[in-house]
């Protein structure tokens, strides 16, 4: 018997790996072709389902890192040591390989195109992935603050290096390095603190919205610091992931 489609139901759709891009030694971006994909809101994620030949399945959620587009999307995956799904996505999958996705998912950690407010995007490690989608689709002035251990751990290095170039001042990028900075970096490496945050944050009267994504400890710290420097808690949206998730 044919199953009638339920309106609004999110069905699993085949996704085909079009190309891959190494981001770091342990992370890469997969460009996926998905027939009939109608785009997403920056910040949304997909659920992904891998099926082994014997029918065993594994599911994970990944943020979309690309700007909204038709029939195509990108996810950026960091290998989790001993992970089950992330090592496959980072080391094994090749162009032409297929798995299933459903989405786009999530209606809170999203930056809607009609939102007129300036934005502060703060990412830790691979938590920058949904923020990258927001930065790429930015329609209002956007400041991205990106914390990584070292330059070689930073995702999207090439894209971030050209942000703000060619007279496009919508997106400005500030890096924070917690362990090792690049040669000649003016600031000693260290964790993001209230001073560094205050230098990048929008003034109160700008009525900016903040999106914070990263490991739990990072998000906790940054969200608390934002509240401390006077950012309205109602205008701080967070997304966190623990050490698992691979």
């Amino acid at each position: 018997m044919a199953r009638a489609a339920i309106p609004g139901r999110l069905t699993w759709q085949p996704a085909t790996v079009a190309t891959t891009r190494a981001e770091t030694a342990t992370a890469r971006t997969l460009v996926l072709n998905v027939d009939g994909w109608t785009g997403h809101l920056p910040g949304q994620h997909i659920d992904l389902r891998l099926t082994a030949p014997d029918g065993y399945t594994a599911y994970r959620s990944y943020s979309i890192s690309s700007a909204p587009g038709l029939d195509r999307l990108e996810v950026t995956v960091q290998t989790v040591p001993d992970g089950e799904v992330s090592p496959y996505l980072v080391d094994v999958a090749e162009p032409g390989d297929q798995f299933e996705i459903r989405g786009p998912l999530g209606g809170w950690f999203v930056r809607r195109p009609a939102d007129p407010r300036p934005a502060l995007l703060i990412g830790g490690g691979s938590g920058v992935a949904p923020l990258m989608s927001m930065a790429r689709a930015a329609k209002t002035p956007t400041r991205l603050l990106y914390s990584t251990r070292s330059p070689s751990d930073a995702l999207f290095s090439a894209d971030l290096a050209t942000a703000g170039a060619a007279g496009d001042d919508r997106v400005t990028v500030t890096h924070v390095y917690t362990r090792v900075g690049p040669p000649g970096w003016p600031v000693p490496p260290g964790r993001l603190d209230a001073d560094a945050l205050a230098r990048v944050a929008w003034p109160r009267e700008a009525d900016a919205v903040a999106f914070v994504c990263g490991p739990t400890g990072f998000v906790e710290t940054v969200a608390d610091l934002l509240v401390d420097i006077g950012h309205d808690p109602a205008n701080i949206r967070t997304e966190r992931f623990g050490p698992t998730g691979g």
Binding site: D47, T51, Y88
Partner: protein
């Protein structure tokens, strides 16, 4: 017919207690929508409000003096992780409702920080749900919902609202925060009710 993913072997674990689409973790991941609210215990209050506006309240001292249970339960997050054998201490919702007269069929949990979630009343009673204030023998950390959170292990964990402030008893159902943001209204992990229309 499922689509086979070339090159994916997967890792089998004999977890028969795992609902569909879930994997097991031994960590305790955190998911919240905004900053963690900090609530001082002297200002903390828990309320039960009926559909007629009758209000019962407990201060922290009153609340923690109530008879408590120590459930050990499995918890299931909609983001696909499950954690087995978590140990809590908390007050059964039955205890909080013992002297409450109501014809309500639904409950909205209200939280410090503004979060809300909706649950049918029958899912909170008969020993199925607690307001928990200890985890693993320690006071519940703010990041995990302390001072006190709902614990409804048979539903996806977003229903187990952190930083609980009040249970509002209602005659009608009123979708909460995630329920109006595309997530399922009920959230049964065994029927994999993650998103609207699942």
């Amino acid at each position: 017919m499922a689509l086979i993913t070339r090159g994916f072997g997967g890792r089998r674990r004999d977890d028969t207690d795992l609902p569909p689409g879930q994997y097991r973790t031994d960590d305790f991941p955190v998911l919240s929508a905004g900053p963690t609210p900090r609530i001082g215990l002297d200002a903390w209050e828990l309320a039960v409000v009926t559909e007629t506006g009758e209000r019962s309240t407990w201060s922290w001292a009153q609340f923690t003096a109530l008879p408590a249970d120590e459930p050990t339960v499995d918890i299931h997050c909609v983001t696909h992780w499950s954690k087995f054998g978590t140990r809590w201490r908390g007050v059964s919702v039955d205890t909080l409702l013992a002297d409450v007269e109501t014809a309500a069929e639904y409950v909205v949990a209200h939280c410090y920080g503004g979060y809300t979630t909706n649950i049918p009343l029958e899912d909170l009673t008969d020993g199925q749900a607690w307001v928990a204030y200890e985890f693993d023998g320690e006071p519940l950390a703010p990041v995990h919902g302390g001072p006190a959170r709902l614990l409804i292990p048979h539903l996806y964990f977003w229903k187990s609202a952190k930083w609980l402030r009040a249970l509002e008893l209602r005659l009608d159902d009123e979708p909460g925060f995630w329920e109006t943001a595309g997530y399922h209204n009920y959230g049964d992990p065994w029927r994999e009710q993650r998103y609207q229309a699942d």
